[in-house]
Every structure is written in structure tokens, then in C-alpha cells.
Symmetry: C2
Subunit: 107 residues, 2 copies
DNA sequence: ACGAACGGTAAGCTACGACTAACGTAATTG
DNA sequence: CAATTACGTTAGTCGTAGCTTACCGTTCGT
């Protein structure tokens, strides 16, 4: 048995190329070849990235003849958004005493 | 001159250890040593991760005597959240024709 | 002022992830 | 029924991210 870990949504978006793919798919659904010629990488590379994004639940695919149309999955995006929301809320919660510490270093 | 690329927020959260640090800091601000003993890595490793998170604008730090208190930056988290929101909105926009394609493959 | 606590930096090693090339498969076209 | 198009998968190479160890500057305590 292989020690196989299903890709997390954050891990998936951790790669800049995959973020570019996500941006492309946010505009409109596309086939693999379309994505490949819109990006500076080969088609197999796109295929591998799409596999990761699919495992993370960020995209869904649909067979259309010989081609395969990938589209962004709103539910997957929403899941990450909700997680950020909880971070954000808890951070604001622990942020109440910030007025008492004017020596904050932002840079 | 060095080709230095300031870390993106997504790149920063792409690492599971850094996500663990973010979760810790979401609870309450902590010093570097505190984070190190709460995680299975050494203190220098934590320091390097905090540097990345700081460059990404996800945390801010404040000197407190010999110690250095790191806290989560709500603005940085909100920035990522907003970006996900636009993806989400555009994905929903291009999702109107989904009823016409019942052969969606989710898994 | 000396020693200890705290933390950032440099050097070096290792492991994993991203990419290409080559191959195999399913579907369309002539 | 070839030939072509469109994808996925595998094998293999290469760069780099993440970790530890060692070292150095700062700040607090006694």
C-alpha cells in the first residue's frame, strides 16, 4: 500500500502555475490543450497540475468527445474562503489590545 | 543585485508547517520559542518560516524585551480572502450552464 | 560585568516537486 | 480502417524548499 496523501487545497494553490490555471478557469471552462497553449509549459505538465487541483476539489472535469473540459469548482473555492474567514475572525479577536502597543513593526 | 522575489501569500500558506504556525497565531500572539516547542521542528526553522510569513504580510512582529512577539495580520488574511471571493464569483458566473451538462464527474 | 535566555543568519545536506520526453489509449475524421 | 487529435501516465532529470547544526548579536538577570 502506498502512503498516498490526497492533496490539500492550500498545497494545490501553493504552486504559481496552478494558480495561473485557476485564474484561467475562473474566466471560463477550458480544455487541457487550451490551457497548455495559454501557459509556458507543456501539455503533460498541465495534465499533472489538473490532477492535483481535481484531488483538492478545486476543479471538476467533463468528457466532451475526445476532449476534456475542466471548470473551476465554486464549492472548493468556498471551502478555502471559509477557512480564511475563521482565521480572520480569530485574529481580529486577539487584536483588541493592539491600541496599547504602538511600537508595531509592519515591515 | 540579487533576484529576490517577495513571497506571495499563497506561496506562504502552501507549506503545511507555516499553516500550523498561522493556526497557532490565530489563537493568540506568541513568541518564537513558544511556537518552536509547539511544533515538531527546531527554533531556527520557525524563524525562517516567520520570515516568509512576514514578507507575505500575513504576520506582524513586535519587540518585547529580549523576546519577539508575532501576531497574525488580519489585513493579510483578508487580502487572500478577497482574492478567493473574485475567483468564486467568476466561477459561479461561468457555472450557469451546468444544468445542461448532467454528466459532471465530481471524483 | 558576566552568564543565560532569546532569536536571527549562514552553511550544508536531503528530499520532494515540477518539468520534459516518450509511450499508450480513446475518440474523431477522411 | 488508417491517420490524426486530444489526454493521461510513466520514467527520469534538475532545481529548490525545508530542515538541522553552528555561530553571532541583543537583552535581561544577578
Amino acid at each position: 500500500m502506498e502512503t498516498y496523501r490526497p492533496a490539500d487545497g492550500w498545497d494545490a494553490l501553493g504552486d504559481p502555475t496552478r494558480r495561473a490555471i485557476v485564474e484561467c478557469l475562473a474566466e471560463r471552462p477550458r480544455a487541457v490543450g487550451e490551457l497548455a497553449e495559454a501557459l509556458p509549459i507543456s501539455r503533460p505538465a498541465v495534465s499533472q497540475h489538473l490532477k492535483v487541483l481535481k484531488e483538492a476539489g478545486l476543479v471538476t472535469d467533463r468528457a466532451a468527445g475526445a476532449r476534456r473540459i475542466y471548470r473551476l469548482n465554486p464549492a472548493g473555492v468556498a471551502a478555502l474562503r471559509d477557512q480564511l474567514d475563521t482565521y480572520w475572525a480569530r485574529a481580529l479577536d486577539a487584536f483588541q489590545d493592539v491600541a496599547g502597543h504602538p511600537d508595531e513593526e509592519k515591515s
